[in-house]
C-alpha cells in the first residue's frame, strides 16, 4: 500500500504521554483537513490505545510505546500503537465491552468498544509476554462533503 506521509515516534509508557500522543496525531492530521468530528474520533481512539499500553501492557514494568500514523491514498488514516509489554491472553475476551482487568483504576472496560465505534477498522495482535499491536483505520470524508 502506497504511503503518502508517515510519522513514527516512540515514547516511554508514562501516562502523561497519552495527551502528548493525541497532540502529535492532531498536528499530523491537519494536512488531511479532517472534520472536527473525525479528528475527535481519531484522537479518542489513539488515547484509548495508548492508555491500554500504559495501564495494561506495561502494568508490571515500564517500556516503550511506538506510535505510527500514516496518510494513505483515498484519505485513509492508518494508526498503529505497538507495545512490548505483557500481552493479552485472550484478545476476544479483552475486546468484550465492560471487560477490564484494572477495576481498581476505574477502567470502564470500554477502550476497545470506543476504538471499534470511532474507527472503521480495528485489528489487535497480541502475544503473551511479547506485546500487543493495535492497528486502526479510518477513511475521512471527501472535501466538501
Amino acid at each position: 500500500m502506497e504511503i503518502l506521509n508517515e510519522i513514527k515516534f516512540t515514547m516511554p509508557s508514562l501516562s502523561v504521554n497519552e495527551g502528548a500522543a493525541r497532540a502529535v496525531v492532531s498536528s499530523f492530521l491537519i494536512q488531511a483537513d479532517p472534520t472536527v468530528e473525525e479528528l475527535s474520533d481519531i484522537r479518542t481512539a489513539v488515547s484509548e490505545a495508548v492508555t491500554n499500553a500504559v495501564v495494561h501492557g506495561y502494568r508490571h514494568k515500564k517500556g516503550n510505546i511506538e506510535l505510527t500514523v500514516r496518510l494513505l491514498p483515498e484519505r485513509v488514516i492508518y494508526i498503529r500503537v505497538k507495545d512490548k509489554g505483557c500481552g493479552i491472553e485472550d484478545v476476544e475476551q479483552a475486546m468484550e465491552p465492560l471487560f477490564t482487568t484494572a477495576p481498581e483504576e476505574e477502567r470502564s472496560g470500554l477502550g476497545f468498544s470506543v476504538m471499534q465505534s470511532f474507527m472503521d477498522r480495528l485489528k489487535v495482535k497480541s502475544t503473551p509476554d511479547k506485546g500487543t499491536t493495535v492497528i486502526m483505520r479510518k477513511r475521512l470524508s471527501a472535501h466538501g462533503d
Binding site: 502523561v16 479518542t44 488515547s47 477502567r107 470502564s108 468498544s113
Partner: protein
Amino acid sequence: MKIDIKSENGTAIATLSGEIDHHNAKELRAELDRFIVSAQPRQLAIDFGGITFMDSSGIGLIMGRSKLMKECGGALEVRNPQPYIRRVLKLSGIERIVKIR
C-alpha cells in the same frame, strides 16, 4: 485540568475544564472524592461544559463518583456535555444510571 466546586441550594456543582484522560482523571477523582466525603452533598452536578476532550476514562470517573454518591445517600448528575462527549457517554450506556442534562 481545572475544577471549581460551589454549592447552591443543597446542590453542589463541580465545574470541570480541560481534558479528561487516564492521566488527569486520577487527580479529578481524588479531588471530587475528598469533597463528597467531607461535604456529603445530597446532590452533586458535574458540569462538563468546559471539557474539550474525554475518552473512556471519563466514564470510569463518572461511574465511580456515582457509586460513592449513592453510598453517601446522594445522587450524581452530569450537565452540559458537548456533542462529541455525549457520543462517548451514549456509547457507554451510562445514562441508564446517571442523569445527563
